[in-house]
Point group: C2
Chain length 221, copies 2
């Protein structure tokens, strides 16, 4: 029947590497399809039949790579978030060097990182999914708090405290509420997913404006 068509894509351009080692190609296909479906419908309403269809794969295949729907979901989040965490750590590490980067510069870099790597990519949907489904997956919330949030918060808090002491920051407000630094980013993500079609938002400008407010004082004029 029609089945013979092109289920098995001939690897274009050369070595038909051994099929059994190629399994991971499917894995990525499934993850990509899962990103589409989960971010469009949320965890509960996403159908694995649709994920399979979108990935050009039979439903059973999904279960060769992932234990169940929840594992697929969590793995998707992990795969998408890890590289960003890596980059974030690099930026924060630079901020601890002997000759440290000014805090304002660090803030700008984080903002750029966030806009370029998250808000203006499909990863913003991942963040939305974490925010959205987090309360329903306590393990997930705990994991993200332990592995990411608490580390970032305390790194930033330390840095901001020093900045306040050395006069780089006007007050210790940011050291007490490091959440304020990411607030515009979250807002931008939410805005973009809901209202951008009514009133587009320039996320980068928003974050730059926020940084300007945070740091603006005599050091400019």
């Amino acid at each position: 029947m029609t089945t013979a068509a092109n289920k098995k894509p001939k690897p274009a351009g050369g070595k038909p590497s051994r099929r059994h080692e190629q399994g991971s190609g499917k894995r990525e296909l499934i993850l990509a399809a899962a990103l589409d479906e989960f971010s469009q419908n949320g965890f509960a309403a996403a159908r694995l039949d649709d994920v399979a269809k979108r990935a050009n794969v039979a439903k059973g295949t999904i279960y060769l790579y992932f234990k169940d729907k929840e594992s697929l979901f969590q793995e998707l989040l992990r795969v998408q978030i890890s590289p960003v965490v890596g980059m974030l750590e690099a930026v924060l590490a630079a901020s601890k060097d002997a000759r440290p980067v000014p805090l304002r510069e660090t803030a700008n870099r984080i903002a750029d990182l966030f806009v370029d790597q998250v808000i203006s990519t499909r990863r913003k949907d991942i963040v939305r999914l974490i925010l959205t489904e987090g309360p329903r997956f306590p393990k997930l919330a705990e994991f993200y708090y332990r592995e990411i949030i608490s580390r970032a918060i305390s790194a930033f808090r330390t840095r901001a405290a020093r900045a306040a002491k050395e006069g780089e920051l006007r007050s210790d407000t940011l050291a007490r509420f490091p959440q304020l630094i990411v607030a515009p980013a979250l807002t931008a993500i939410m805005w973009k997913s809901m209202f951008d079609k009514f009133e587009p938002l320039d996320a980068k400008a928003l974050m730059k404006a926020h940084i300007e407010i945070l740091f603006d004082k005599e050091e400019r004029s």
Copy 2:
């Protein structure tokens, strides 16, 4: 066709009978139960059987008061949000008086309103639901944009522009990005629903700190 939406067994006339009062009591019972279930599980995963059980009502009764699951959901959001919008309008209206309230004072009042009426009540879950389910209910997102967001944004933008011109604000940044005023509020809501058990956040202090940063300049010292 449009008139068919006559679900309320309560005729809005002057003297409702005891029976009708009972009826509307059920309605509220159902809405309260729905708030619990929807905010715990999200729209898709919430079960009407559970809503009924929680409201001590048979499942069929729900359909006497609401057309379907989605209507119940939307009505829940409407009922919870309307009063807050009313209060918000009152605050913003005062800001337009002949002898206007200083912007900083308005901002403080909005922050108080938000913390007292939303963040520290179950209504924070409603906001989370809107943020969470909004992208999946385009009608909902459009409704909230048209009826609430766009109005609040433009009211605030006008006010902030005047404040910038009259020197009350250092720059026109807030007029260009009124989103910045609510950013900490959204962040507080998300933090509270996910991470509060690991690291409690004082939402009021956060918002006051933010306002301090926004307005802090020579007017303090």
